[in-house]
Structures are given as C-alpha cells and as structure tokens.
Amino acid sequence: MKIKNQKLSNDTFFSEREEVLQQWPTGKEVDLDDAVDHQKKIPLTRRFGEVLARGVEEQRTLIQPRAGVALTGEHIKLLQFLESQGEADLLPTTVDSYTRLNRYNEAENGIEKSKETGRSMLNGFPIVNYGVEVCRNVTSALKKPVQVRHGTPDARLLTEISIAGGFTSFEGGGISYNIPYSKDHSIEETLLNWQYTDRLVGWYEEAGISINREPFGPLTGTLIPPFISNSVAVIETLLAATQGVKDITVGYGQCGNLIQDVSAIRALTKVTREYLDKFGFHDVRITTVFHQWMGGFPQDEAKAFGVISWGAAAAALAKASKVIVKTPHEAMGVPTKEANAAGLRATKQVISMLKDQDLREIPAVLTESEIIAEETRCILAKVEELGKGDYAVGTVAAFEAGVIDIPFAPSRYNMGKVFPARDNLGAVRLLQMGNLPLTAELKEFHRSKLEERAKQEKRPVSFQMVIDDVYAIGKGFLVGRPR
C-alpha cells in the first residue's frame, strides 16, 4: 500500500503538482504567489471561514443553496439572485458532472453548445475549463463568500484553479466524494487525491490564507445512521488536519427524527473535537453543516416546502453553523433560480424564528448523543487498529473489511452488507449490521429498537422495512408502516 497518513513532503507535493497542472491548459494559469496576493485582497466579508465564525458567534445558523450553470454571465446572475432574492448567507458554485469525472473535453463541448443555444447544457459550472481569471470574475461579483461544491473523486486540478480563482471554501473528501459518487475508484486512490487537495489548502494556510474545507456529510443521503457519517467526517477531518488544514466544517444529513438529528450534530462536534485534540490539532477550528433531507423528496411543491422547513427547524434547534437548503423542485429536477430562492426564504424564516431556541442540552439529546459518540468511537478505534495508528491505511483496510460500510452506496469498494431501518419513533437504526465493529451491547440496542417497531407493526423485523422506509418520505411519512 502506497498511502500513509502523513503530511506530504514538499518534494512529493510539488512534483505531483507539475503533473496535475498539465491535465488541462488552464492549469498553467495557476501561480501560487499571484494566488496568495489575490486571496489576500479578498475582504473578510467574503471569506467563508470568517463569515461562518461570525454566524457561530451570533448563534445564527447560516443558509446556503446549491447552484451552478454552464455560462459565466448566467452563473453570476444566478448567484446574485440567490444572494438578493434568496437572502443566502453563503454561496455555492456547483460543478458540472463532466468536470467531476475529469472529462474536460466534454465540458468544453458543453460550454460551446451552451453558448450556441443560450441555454445551460451542463448541470453545473465547469471551473477547470474556465480557469483562474473567469473564476475571479465570479467570486468578486458577489457580496457573500463562495464555496466549490461538487462530488469529484480526483479534484486536484479543480482545487488548484478554485483557490487561485478566489473561492474560499472547498467541499469533499477521499471517502465522501468517492463511495457515494463513484463505482470504480479505489479508496486508496481517492485518499491520495484528497491528500493533495488538503496539502494545497495546508500550503495556503502556511502562506497566511485560510481556506475552509468541508467533508461531504450526507454520503448517499439515504437512511445513514449518524455514527456512520460521523465516523467518515472525523476520519476526513483528521486526514485534512494532517496536511495542514485549519478550518473544517463537518457535515450531517437530516434523518428526520428531531432528537436523533440534534444529537447527531452534538456528537459530531464533540467527537471531532475529541479526536483532533487527541492528535494534537488543537488549533483546527470546527463548524458544522446540517443538510436538509437528502433522500427522495415529495413531488408536490407545497409538501416539499414542508420538508424544507422541517429541515430548517432541526438545523436551528441543533444550532448547526449552517444549513444546506433544498428546493421545492427537488423531486423533479435541477431547480429554477426562483424555486431555489423560495427554498432559501422558507428556510431563512424558520431559522430566524428559532434563532433563540436550542435543544442541544435536553436529557433525551444528551442520551442519544452519547450513544452516537460511543458508536463512532467503536468504528474509529477499529480503523486505528487496522491501520496500526495510521488513519489512511486503516481506512483502506476498514472498507475492505466492511468495518466502514455505507448503506446504498454504488462503489465496488464498499462492502454493502449494512442495511438500516427506522425504529418506532423514526430514528435510523441498523437492521443488518454487516461487519460493523459495534459492541455487543450496542448491537443489542439497535436490535431492540427495531423489535419495538416490529411489535407495534405486528410483523417481524425484515428487509421489507428497509424498502418501506426508503419509499416512506415520498408518501409523506418517516416510518414505512405496513398498511
């Protein structure tokens, strides 16, 4: 195995870098000194980490949409619209699918076709093809900080151009942008790719430029028990911190049970801090992101508003640092800018109304959150053991052994033995535990929670519950009860 969880040496990094910058002509435009100069000129009101920190200070959950189209002018207009009409606190630039797969030729074709037809033929903004200057035009046309959001297993060149282009935050990680987004990339390969991204961010840190980094919390977005996504978040945080990243936003996708959701965010903050401290990363700042319901949405727009608002409420009551907002078009397709802004405004209203309310310290949350923390520690301890103390080596081994196993993932490198189902109150538990290294007691806890539901439904615990639960939200319910 080639990978090791240690800071890339300058030699390794810069020689790899030469290669990376040649992957596409715009790579040549990246000049680190010039990039640092440019980043230094960005006012604090447009620095992602700064704005996040201020939100945390004011106990205000910030709101952020997803959005990206093919043409620069249109993309700027879209983001300005979300800023003014959507009252977004933080902005995204969602990258198109070709760029995510490093197919820059096809992205070029998409840009041409979009110019010809005047319509966006790509499902996002092709950052690499446009290169540094165009990105600077985008990021400086806005009042709020902008983050790159994508789903790219190999995002090395994308990171280079994004940071030089004035983006101040970058989403993704070697696990979270592989397992849910890819079929054939090995974990080792993508961990290596993301060491590069993190090292680059670390390099900027050392040059006095802090770039916010955000592991993708929700994974497949479908019935992920909090401890599984929290474990991935902690690992990606440790790997990033090793490369010198100092500002990290760990994420979580709403499950729908309020107590579990608030507990998940609480445990996420706590265990991430715990492990950072354990490895001496005391100066790494942690914030949290809560993703509104990431699974299948109801088709009806009014019902979608209900789901969106409930996500906003849970985020506010959990005092997440920010919330990623869905739109009333979610079940249908890429939203119009109006639908996107409407989702934001509904969210803003709920967040503002709940600004002064907080459920993090109620007893039910304390209990559930302790369970999640304990489960997370089981996984992390096993990863550490498998890697003999090295979290990168351990992660590769953990996926092989099914010690980390992400429900509903498309990747061949994920064991796929774990199946979740909801308990009687709608909290996500485990039905099939695969090789997850939980203690006997914790396994029994999951089993008993599902037995409780089975009893209520007068049917045995079975795989049909999984199916019923996946369908349930589309039908309006959390728990897929038999009729």
Binding site: S97, L101, S182, H329, A331, M332, G333, P410
Partner: protein, 141 residues
Amino acid sequence: MSGITVVIGVIGADVHAVGNKIIDFALQEAGFNVVNLGVMVSQEEFVQAAIETDADAILVSSLYGHGEIDCQGLREKCEEAGLNDIPLIAGGNLVVGKQNFEEVEARFMKMGFNKVTSPGTPIEEIFEYLKELPVLTQGLQ
C-alpha cells in the same frame, strides 16, 4: 415465477444507486428474473447482458439529468446486435429540470423506447405492463 427476465441498470455516468436497489428487490419479490447491472452502465453493457440472458425487456434508469444524451442510440445498438423488438423502458428523472412530461415522453418514444415513466413513478406501476410482455413480444416475432 413469471418466467420473465428483465435487465435493469442506471445508464451513463449516473451513480444514483438507491432506486436501482429498490427496483431490483421489488421485481424479484414480484417473481421476475432480474439481471441487475447496477449504476454507471454503458449502452453496450445493457445490450450484451440482454443477449446473454435472453431477456424479455431492458429497464433503463436515469436520474442525474443527462438521460436524454445517454439513451440516444440504444435502440440502434440493440438492432445491430440482433435484439430486434426487445422492449426498452425508461424511468427516473430523465431530463434536466422540471419539464413537461408529455414532451419528454414523446422525445424518448421517438428514440425507440416503448414505455417512458415520469419522475418518481414507482416500479410497481409497470408490473402489469411487464407481465404482458411475453405475449406482446411473441406476437411481434
């Protein structure tokens, strides 16, 4: 056992895996023979699998928005391979954005699909249709 064999998969560079797993389970429960190619399936893989398993239909899923590009030419590939009248069925979020479904359906029918379903149509809704396929296809051959 209905004796009906269907090939299923998510076409193109699309990784939406949840619906695929659910469809697999539901079809098997209903007695179909399911050949599941998973996500990120190329046109060639669909055709190859249909030949190898002597399938009665190909069920193509596309969720991520590029379905129209990804499905273009599948009918022609089937014919080249000698799968002359094999029913092609498409479902999921076939196009980018919220579009008029009748128009989307028409475009896919023109591409040679035999049935097209709107976003979120549960697989159960086409069981009847699938069960009548052998009759239909026998009639055709």
